[in-house]
């Protein structure tokens, strides 16, 4: 084995860049709704709360193929919303990289919500009450107290979502197929290489690459979390002691 083994082919680079693009957009897309739903589930009681909770978590327990197929039924060119989008705006989501973003967003959403919800739950409600007693509107309290204190958990959720998106396979291939340069992300490329004769070397290269990216994401997550905790101060860990 010589060094040229590590040089990626244009198709492999394309898969890598596409994966990165899909994962970044997926993380951006679920960021705000994820925090909003997490806040709703953590702080509010309303009719249909457990239903919302279940629906959000569904992709976590279903075989990924199921959400993928449902997305196809909904957003495919013959789907309920897809048909309307096509007719009104001329937009077709299925079999595009945007569809891949949506597929991985649906799959990563529960991870984001779980992590953010836990973090928001752990913020001392006494601090929020104190902020309100100082004249802050509940919305301001959320942005100045709750959100900054929950940030480590939210960041963890975002990194988890990013990683989940990088690894997304089942929903993506069902919803948007495996089109080179459009929807063939790293996992799909690896799968494709394992299916063609002589593709093993390329598959191994991408496997190693995936592992490096995953490790990197975990290390960045750890670093960010530690910095956030340092910023908040050790009080977070000593709740209740004055």
């Amino acid at each position: 084995m010589n060094l040229s083994f590590f040089i990626l082919s244009p198709a492999e680079i394309e898969a890598l860049l596409l994966s990165a693009r899909v994962a970044i957009f997926c993380t951006l897309v679920i960021c705000i709704p994820g925090v909003a739903i997490a806040w709703l589930l953590a702080k509010k009681s309303f009719i249909g709360k457990s239903l919302l909770d279940s629906v959000v978590h569904l992709p976590l327990v279903l075989p990924p193929v199921v959400p993928g197929f449902l997305l196809l039924l909904l957003l495919g060119s013959q789907g309920l919303i897809g048909k309307w989008l096509q007719a009104t705006f001329g937009i077709n989501i299925a079999f595009t990289w945007i569809g891949a973003v949506i597929a991985s967003a649906v799959m990563a959403f529960p991870l984001m919500v779980r992590s953010a919800r836990l973090a928001i739950n752990q913020v001392d409600t006494g601090l929020e009450a104190a902020a309100q007693s100082l004249g802050a509107h509940p919305l301001r309290v959320f942005f100045t107290i709750t959100l900054p204190l929950a940030l480590p958990g939210i960041v963890t959720g975002l990194i988890l979502a990013f990683s989940r998106s990088l690894g997304e396979f089942g929903a993506t291939i069902t919803f948007v197929g495996n089109i080179e340069g459009e929807t063939r992300t790293l996992p799909l490329a690896i799968y494709t290489y394992t299916q063609v004769p002589g593709g093993d070397m390329a598959a191994i290269r991408l496997v190693i690459l995936s592992m490096i990216i995953a490790l990197g994401a975990l290390m960045i997550s750890d670093l960010l979390e530690r910095r956030a905790i340092k910023h908040i101060g050790r009080d977070l860990r000593e709740k209740g002691s004055a």
């Binding site: 007693s133 802050a136 050790r234």
Partner: protein, 361 residues
């Protein structure tokens, strides 16, 4: 002026208190679980009453019948919590500014510098809450609430989680706030000494009910407070006047009617009227004046009543203008042959006498 009539039921605990608070500083006193914090929470808007009304300076903040419930952030009532609740991610300056910055300039009664200097927290401004001591946290918490120029300041056991030494450091700051800043305060505590250091206007509650309200000296002798007075060692609460100070022996001489009482030195001018107390269990009786004894206070009087309360025998002695209760054993009573009408000397150890409103040095 705060006028309220509030009810709330929680499990087996029912709170139902009606009162009007019209003195600048009121001490809300009661044993743990009496409902002090719940009442304070309802005034602040942290806890929702089930029924009743709450009116502050003519503005209705809560009225269950009229459907009024002004939210917490619009009440302009400052709260200092037992656990200080400083925002851990903000430094002390930003903590202090949190409410201050939300306030229109015309509504600001104090400047930032004024409060920082009053509470001596200038050196802490760039620190984070976890870097400062418990006592400093409470001063910052107090400053943060004061900077919002509240119409009413509620202090919920602000010293309860501090040790004695720190308490004694913070109490003068609270007094300073009371004296220099004209904001009505409700001070909640289960430590009567803390309350009496700040005010003698007391609201006493027990098991969710108002027990008594008024000047401490006047209500403490009420019949329904006798059990509480006993548990607090407040059977003997006496008004006295400072006659002179003895700097050599670090003591203060008081006069009470024609009696003289010596107590450890306190910082107040001669002529000042003060309130002192001594637990009945710290009062001994003697049939004659004792010469070879360290006890300096020997007050002559006549036994007016002897009563058995549970296992305790209480002897009431009229010492002229007031009455002293001594707790003795039945055996001692029989040995000395003490009966109603006997002439006795009440022996009060100077160190056992508490002067209310002063920090013991």
């Amino acid at each position: 002026m705060l006028d309220f009539n509030l009810q709330r039921t929680q499990g087996n605990f029912a709170l139902n208190i009606k009162s009007t608070l019209d003195t600048p500083v009121v001490g809300l006193f009661g044993p743990s679980g009496a409902g002090k914090s719940t009442l304070l929470g309802m005034i602040a808007g942290l806890v929702k009453p089930h029924s009743g009304h709450l009116i502050l300076d003519g503005e209705t903040l809560f009225d269950s019948q009229r459907g009024i419930d002004i939210p917490l952030h619009q009440r302009r009532i400052g709260v200092v919590f037992q656990d200080s609740r400083l925002f851990p991610h903000l430094n002390i300056r930003d903590n202090l500014n949190y409410g201050f910055n939300l306030l229109a300039t015309k509504d600001r009664r104090f400047s930032f510098v004024q409060i920082v200097e009053l509470l001596e927290i200038g050196h802490l401004l760039l620190q984070k809450p976890h870097q400062i001591s418990g006592g400093e946290k409470q001063r910052v918490s107090l400053g943060r609430a004061l900077l919002t120029s509240p119409r009413l300041l509620l202090l919920d056991e602000p010293l309860a989680s501090l040790d004695v030494r720190l308490k004694h450091q913070i109490l003068p700051f609270l007094r300073r706030v009371k004296d220099e800043i004209n904001i009505p305060m409700v001070y909640v505590s289960h430590a009567i000494d803390e309350i009496l250091y700040l005010t003698s206007q007391i609201v006493m509650i027990e098991q969710g009910k108002l027990l008594a309200q008024g000047h401490f000296h006047q209500i403490i002798h009420q019949d329904n407070l006798q059990n509480m007075a006993y548990s607090l060692g407040l059977e003997n609460v006496i008004s006295a006047t400072i006659a002179s100070h003895d700097k050599v022996y670090a003591s203060t001489l008081l006069t009470q009617g024609k009696q003289a009482i010596v107590i450890p030195q306190i910082a107040a001018e001669a002529g000042t009227q003060i309130t002192i107390s001594i637990p009945a269990s710290s009062v001994a009786l003697s049939l004659s004046h004792l010469d070879n004894v360290t006890i300096q206070n020997q007050l002559q009087g006549f036994v007016t009543e002897i009563k058995q309360v549970g296992y305790r025998v209480l002897v009431m002695v009229d010492i002229g203008e007031s009455r002293i209760t001594a707790e003795v054993t039945t055996k001692a009573l029989e040995m000395l042959n003490i009966a109603v009408g006997s002439s006795v000397y009440c022996l009060l150890k100077a160190q056992a006498i508490r002067a209310h409103g002063f920090i013991a040095s």
